[in-house]
């Protein structure tokens, strides 16, 4: 083939690359019977385009299914709250009406009924928070992390259960306020819940790394074995050695889900017996 022909074929290849980059898989490149290197490149691009198209179609179907499942989870959790609150109220009324003798069988059954109801309410609330974490359009704003931390500590009365220290003023980040509250709340409450020390100590620190902020929440808890460090972020996954009665395996999954939805990351560094540090990234304020 002449140089002019080859230039034409190479231009067609460049054009095709541009189309595929724009997710336009409608064009196929001509492949001649010469079986030369340009033919091989053209065929390779055609095959890649075909594979990408299949993946895009598959992803689109999966995204649609996921969106329906998320909506279902949210709606179901939302609708379950009301009857659960009713059950909770009725159990309280029952207790007041029956007024059982302390430590009697009836007293024991009512206590178990209350505890189970609270557990179900907590689980439903967790599912609701997790499914809300994937909502697309949210208000982004500049947030002072020091204020968020103080607010969560005060609201949840964490100062009574842990020694929380902030190293240097934390930065201002660009994020959604209620999502930020939830992240801080989940990380701090997890540190308190799983603490195995007489005094739970938590240190919060932020620094700039490669144009973003990296926030670290370090505790003096039992630590997390390497084989569990990815699993703890999975929904409903609980580390067997540290199962707590009020743990549903949703908190960290929610935190990761929220952060991923905003294009941020979370990971943990820990050794057994040496506490854990949860790191997550945040955009700098505008």
């Amino acid at each position: 083939m002449s140089d002019l022909d080859n230039d034409k074929r190479l231009n067609e290849i460049l054009e095709m690359i541009g189309r595929v980059a724009a997710l336009d898989f409608s064009r196929m490149l001509p492949v001649s019977k010469n079986n030369d290197m340009i033919d091989a490149i053209a065929l390779g691009l055609n095959m890649l385009s075909e594979e990408l198209n299949s993946n895009v179609v598959e992803k689109s179907k999966l995204d649609s299914v996921n969106a329906k499942l998320e909506k279902f989870a949210y709606t179901t959790a939302h609708d379950l709250r009301s009857p659960l609150n009713s059950i909770s109220g009725l159990v309280t009324l029952l207790e007041l009406t029956v007024n059982p003798e302390k430590n009697s069988e009836v007293d024991l059954y009512i206590s178990k009924l209350k505890a189970t109801t609270e557990q179900m309410k907590s689980l439903v609330q967790g599912i609701l928070e997790y499914s809300k974490a994937n909502v697309g359009s949210v208000l982004m704003e500049d947030i002072d992390l020091n204020s968020v931390l103080k607010s969560v500590i005060d609201t949840d009365q964490l100062a009574e259960r842990a020694l929380i220290k902030i190293i240097d003023p934390l930065p201002c980040v660009y994020f959604n306020k209620s999502a930020m509250d939830q992240i801080i709340r989940n990380l701090l409450s997890n540190a308190v819940k799983y603490s195995d020390k007489k005094v739970c100590e938590i240190v919060v620190h932020g620094k700039e790394v490669e144009g973003r902020y990296q926030i670290a929440v370090t505790d003096n808890g039992p630590g997390i074995a390497p084989e569990h460090q990815e699993k703890i972020f999975e929904l409903f996954n609980k580390v067997e050695s540290e199962v707590k009665a009020d743990s549903h395996g949703i908190g960290l999954a929610t935190v990761r889900s929220i952060l991923n939805a905003f294009g941020e990351r979370i990971w943990v560094k820990s050794s057994v017996g040496e506490g854990a540090t949860f790191y997550f990234t945040m955009k700098k304020r505008r």
């Binding site: 492949v31 019977k33 079986n35 030369d36 290197m37 033919d39 091989a40 490149i41 065929l43 390779g44 095959m47 075909e50 594979e51 299949s54």
Partner: protein
């Protein structure tokens, strides 16, 4: 030695117990061609997996479904290991796609010479 052929492929099963498949010039392989190839291969080796030398040199195109079929359990049942001979640019692309994307279930390697491929099959 036994030989068979259809309009796209020549099949040779030697007394040494190696099956060879050679495509005719400018072959375009479709899913139907792949299934037919599997059927003939299975009959020739008497349904016992044997080493396979598959020369893709003359193949100018292979559909996505055909590649998937050759990576399937159905086709894997016909061979113990496969040497793919890829001496032309297009066959190299097809061979690499097959290995990298479709991931055949039995040991499969690409060779640019039949001699090297046979040497590996005889190991």
């Amino acid at each position: 030695m036994e030989q068979r052929e259809n309009d796209k492929i020549k099949f040779t099963y030697t007394d040494e117990g190696i099956l060879y498949t050679d495509c005719f010039a400018n072959t375009v392989m479709t899913l139907e061609d792949g299934k037919e190839s599997t059927r003939i291969s299975a009959e020739m080796v008497n349904y016992i997996p044997r080493p396979l030398l598959c020369d893709l040199t003359n193949v100018v195109s292979m559909t996505q479904d055909c590649r998937k079929h050759f990576a399937s359990a159905e086709h894997a049942a016909t061979f113990s290991k496969c040497a793919l001979i890829v001496t032309s640019p297009i066959s190299r692309v097809i061979g690499n796609f097959f290995l990298g994307l479709n991931k055949p279930l039995k040991p499969t390697r690409l060779f640019t010479s039949r001699e090297e491929g046979l040497k590996w099959l005889r190991e």
